[in-house]
Amino acid sequence: MLRLPSFRLEQPDTLPQALALLDQAGPEAAVLAGGTDLLPNMKHELRRPSVVIALSRVKGLTGIAEAADGAIEIGAMTPLAEVAQSALVARALPALAQAAALVAGPQLRQRGTLGGNVLLDTRCQYVNQSHFWRSALGFCLKKDGTVCHVVAGGSRCVAAASADTVPALMTLGAVLEVARHDRTRQLPIDAFFVADGIVNRRLEPTELLTRVRVPRPAAGHRGAYGKLRERGSIDFPLLGVAARLDLSEAGVVEHADLVLTSLAAAPRRVAGAADALRGSAPGHAPAEFETAVRRVAELARRQCRPLPNLPGDHEWRGEMVPVYARRTLLAAAAGQGPVHHV
């Protein structure tokens, strides 16, 4: 049995009410969206807020819509199941639809939200454990302790960014709409994450994520998501790979991107991927395209060194980096995906 520590629950009906409550409570408060990350973390005593502010009744935070300029706007409280099933998302943003469909299991996708996924806390096999378990091993930098069990002598927490939708949103150039009681701001998702496992995002404690905005994708946009995990039914990623290829009318790659997650505290964009793929034509010169893909897979292998922060053999995860990079790019080119073992 895992009990929640006690707190006061607030269930505001409007955004201004929620923002005012958050402003009053400051760092004492936790925001509850679907609760599928927050509540297990509270049960593990990783967080002990005195006030929990639930967004479930706040109007205007759900839904998926195409804006006049062709951008796709998704409310932060939109359930992942809705993102995964949306015909608009599947057509325009295939990597995002595939990633959302592979988060957790069906009940959790029904309750878990896109905003909560973007703001998912970092994960580590030494910290996502009960207080009892952690006290037996000895606490670590992320919570209550002074050492890191992953990197001996390390002074920085390297718990892994683990949200499936984030790499997809990064390849798509998403912008986060963030509100505080006195202002709103727009933040490119690329500038949102920092390589610090304790808190890996630039969000003030009094701010709410209200919306995710994805600019209109190119006409020839292709995308796919690849996910390595222990059990295909429910587990967090051991590795997540999002690929983007924008093809010209002639079928030539004009823009490309590859972002990986579940490595360190921030997702990682593979440097040089876009240059290696630009100019190749998967439909007309497949052999040449595959050579470029292999080059990118090799870049990914060299740039990404998984740490023993997640369960399982991290060297094997490292071996899987080029495999999933290659397969996900090929799936994107073919208009297929996800790359997933079940």
């Binding site: 707190f7 006061r8 599928t36 049960k43």
Partner: protein, 183 residues
């Protein structure tokens, strides 16, 4: 908000609609729906396994959708309809059927359990699937039950139970048919 705060201070309690009945319960803010079901309402059919979202043993239907009740605050379930395993047979009888719900009968007929700990959650996930899709394909059954873990059966008999209903098709879908599927 203010009204709600006052209500609570003067001791007005949480109203939960469970299996068609309205219950008034006095619970602290930090109690989960699962805790209220089990320890206030005595509905122990929803199981407390991992208590953190991994196993699905605590699955109930919230407005008809499978939900992990160990990760839902009881107060967040206010105003929504909760269906637990205890509610299936009475619902079936109220709709003119007899005995247990067809999904329960199919699990029984297929021997889809050993210890039974996963069964209430499994049945509710299967029930919700069949209510929206009376003839699911095998891969749809697997996907719908992916959030319910079974440590005993190896899943084969569980998939068999749902296949039994799926083959029978719309005629025996839990929403539409009063007739149980029985051997």
């Amino acid at each position: 908000m203010l009204v709600r705060g006052l209500r609570r201070k003067i001791g007005v309690i949480l109203q939960l609609q469970v299996n068609g009945d309205v219950h008034e319960v006095d619970v602290p803010d930090h109690w989960t729906l699962l805790e209220v079901l089990r320890y206030r309402l005595g509905l122990t059919g929803s199981k407390q396994g991992c208590d953190k979202g991994d196993c699905g043993a605590c699955t109930v239907l919230l407005d008809g959708q499978p939900a992990i009740s160990c990760l839902v605050l009881a107060r967040e379930a206010e105003g929504r309809s909760v269906l637990t395993i205890e509610g299936l047979a009475p619902r079936h009888v109220a709709a003119g059927g007899c005995g247990v719900d067809p999904v329960q009968a199919a699990f029984d007929a297929s021997g889809a359990l050993q210890c039974g700990f996963c069964q209430s959650g499994m049945i509710l996930s299967a029930w919700a699937l069949l209510a929206r899709n009376p003839r699911p394909r095998p891969e749809e059954v697997r996907a719908a039950l992916a959030g319910n873990l079974c440590r005993c059966t190896g899943y084969t008999q569980i998939f068999d139970a749902v296949a039994r209903l799926a083959t029978a098709g719309a005629a025996t879908a839990p929403e539409t048919s009063p007739e149980a599927v029985r051997d």
